[in-house]
């Protein structure tokens, strides 16, 4: 097993810089998730760790050894691809043993490893089938099995659940979490889905525009987003970001009202972040609003509100609280943390908002 260290890692395709100065320490045995919108460079970063993409600058080390110029096979990694990438002309067994046979492992050892992995993934009955005879979920298990049998130092997952349907995605997600618990191997996982990131990760790395926005434990990112981007990206539905004006210890949130600040936080135009679950309806002194959309999810309700002469807000409430489209309501911030971001987008302060 091994940790992975990235030092000032950068990547350019010709003159286009896609990743710059990535610094990251992934501890031995850690489950690290790279998350970000498409095009943020997260898959490129994973492929650089795998050795499938050349490193333009900086250092990469796995298990304390610099591996910038090592081929994928010398890095002790195994990778699971979004498209499964199973060898179509080989059976499930053939797919799983391909890498082992290349390393000239003894037949007994190969068979043992395949049996063990197949049992772990419950694909024992499929070993003689070809990938074309398997369902999507089964194919993904085989792809994971192919990675497991190699007993790598580091597992790399590139959006492994994206091609599965919603129910299967949840099941497979749990299985990957179980797998990590059983094997205790370092895993690096790329996804654009913040729910996957939140549920799986020991450590989340939020990437955007070729740089790391924030690194931390899931709840830390949720509770103290470093900037507006992370605030908007982590949490579903996304955080309401409202333009506000700050002067002295007063916060003017326009149509939402004026609030007191716990300290002098500078002055000027800033952004207030309010989670959808941290809004209450019919609060005394709340701001008037109209319900423009209601989505019932069963156990909870998502509602879109338009503040009178103000921006739209999304709120999440338990199903007990029934509202209908077109209804006039009043809305106010709840008792949980709100976040204030400065003009450049960096978080200035988080505190429970009190009316001023």
């Amino acid at each position: 097993m091994a940790g992975v260290t990235l030092t000032n890692l950068s990547k350019a395709f010709g003159a286009t810089e896609v990743l710059r100065d990535i610094n990251l320490v992934i501890e031995d045995g850690e489950f690290c998730v790279f998350v970000g919108p498409s095009g943020c460079g997260k898959s490129t970063l994973l492929r650089m760790i795998a050795g499938l993409e050349e490193i333009s600058g900086g250092d990469l080390s796995i298990g304390g050894v610099r591996v910038n110029d090592a081929s994928p096979r010398e890095r002790g990694i195994a990778m699971v691809f979004q498209s499964y990438a199973l060898y179509p002309h080989r059976t499930v067994r053939g797919n799983m043993e391909f890498g082992l046979r290349l390393s000239r492992m003894a037949r007994d050892e190969i068979d043992q490893r395949i049996t063990r992995a197949a049992r772990m993934l419950q694909i024992e009955g499929l070993l003689d089938r070809r990938p074309s005879q398997l369902s999507g979920g089964q194919r993904q298990r085989v792809a994971i099995g192919r990675a497991i049998v190699r007993e790598p130092e580091v597992f790399l997952f590139d959006e492994p659940l994206s091609n599965l349907d919603a129910a299967l995605r949840v099941d497979t997600r749990r299985e990957i979490a179980d797998l990590h618990r059983q094997l205790g191997t370092t895993m690096i996982y790329v996804t654009h889905d913040q729910v996957e990131a939140m549920t799986l990760a020991d450590k989340i790395v939020v990437l955007n525009g070729g740089g790391v926005q924030q690194t931390g434990r899931p709840l830390d990112l949720y509770n103290s987003p470093a900037n507006v981007f992370v605030a908007g990206f982590i949490g579903s539905p996304r955080m309401n970001l409202i333009p506000v004006t700050v002067s002295g210890r007063t916060l003017d949130a326009g149509a939402l009202g004026r609030f007191g600040l716990p300290a002098d936080l500078g002055s000027g135009a800033m952004t207030l972040g309010l989670r959808p679950e941290n809004l209450v309806l019919h609060a005394p002194g709340g701001a008037p609003a109209t319900v423009t959309l209601v989505e019932h999810l069963g156990n909870e309700v998502l509602a879109e509100l338009r503040l009178t002469n103000g921006p739209n807000l999304v709120m999440k409430q338990t199903a007990a609280l029934a509202v209908t489209t077109g209804e006039a309501v009043t809305v106010a911030p709840g008792p949980d943390l709100v976040h204030l971001f400065d003009a450049a987008g960096a978080r200035v302060h988080s505190w429970p908002l009190a009316r001023g």
Partner: protein, 278 residues
């Protein structure tokens, strides 16, 4: 297929049958004639079925030419050339399809241009090159210039471009060298195209006439069967012995035919499995 009126269908079927008969007829005539006597083969109106099928002409072929040796030469030329074309086409096709390198597209364009050169244009320059290498009059001289083929590279590039990059990356992560990636992962994924190229190359180089004639220059022990057939024609001072020539031609056609039947079954298999993949 949409439902057609019975009459249209009947017409279509008869057209297909007519075309099949037309293309099969010369072949059938060749085989039938090889069993006739010389006198029977020249008779008017023509005799279709020989009165007594005789294998005499087949025996006579070996008296005039070294039929076994010629067939072996043909097999050596066609097999080695096909093998060479397959290896170079798959490797170069992979490079053109999957590697990014400076000048790739220019190089590929040049190669496409070479594809449109009629072989006759390169005959003399190629011959001179082979002569300077001291290979004229030898099978090596016949084979060497044909080991790479622009069309083959083009065909392989087109098919390999359709192989998912993830599959190739998966093999690299699994520890495969580039050669291993090409032959253990990419090639099996484009097998139908490889089979088509193999068939095309084998038949073409089995039947090729001008190039071996130019290189071998009367070294008749190295003649492929196609050149030896020419000697059957001119045997007996121009008085052509039709059954003899037809027997030689039948012998010459058998190996590519077997090759075709073998590979054809294989095409159908791989096309079915590709279709089922979904």
């Amino acid at each position: 297929m949409t439902r057609q009126p019975r009459i249209v269908r009947a017409l279509l079927v008869s057209l297909i049958v007519a075309l099949a008969v037309m293309s099969a007829f010369p072949f059938l005539w060749m085989v039938l004639s090889s069993f006739k006597t010389a006198e029977e083969s020249m008779r008017t109106p023509p005799v279709w079925i020989p009165a007594a099928a005789s294998l005499e002409s087949y025996g006579a072929v070996s008296d005039v030419i070294q039929a076994g040796r010629s067939l072996l030469n043909s097999a050596i030329i066609a097999t080695l050339t096909t093998a060479g074309i397959l290896v170079t086409s798959i490797m170069a096709g992979f490079a053109f399809a999957k590697y990014r390198f400076r000048g790739r597209d220019t190089l590929f364009g040049l190669m496409i241009a070479a594809m449109f050169l009629p072989p006759i244009v390169t005959l003399i320059p190629l011959f001179r090159m082979v002569s300077e290498m001291g290979l004229n009059g030898s099978l090596a001289g016949v084979i060497l210039p044909n080991l790479a083929n622009a069309f083959g590279i083009f065909l392989m590039r087109q098919f390999i471009a359709g192989v998912p990059d993830d599959l190739i990356d998966a093999a690299r992560v699994d520890g495969a060298s580039e050669l291993r990636v090409v032959f253990s992962v990419v090639a099996p994924a484009v097998l139908p195209a490889i089979a088509a190229l193999a068939l095309f190359a084998f038949v073409y180089h089995w039947n090729t006439y001008l190039w071996p004639l130019t290189v071998l220059q009367g070294a008749s022990e190295d003649y492929p069967i196609v050149l030896s057939l020419g000697r059957l024609l001119s045997y007996n001072r121009g008085a052509m012995n039709t059954p003899l020539v037809m027997a030689g031609a039948t012998l010459a056609v058998l190996p590519p035919l077997v090759m075709f039947v073998f590979l054809q079954r294989f095409f159908v298999d791989s096309m079915v499995s590709a279709a089922v993949k979904g």
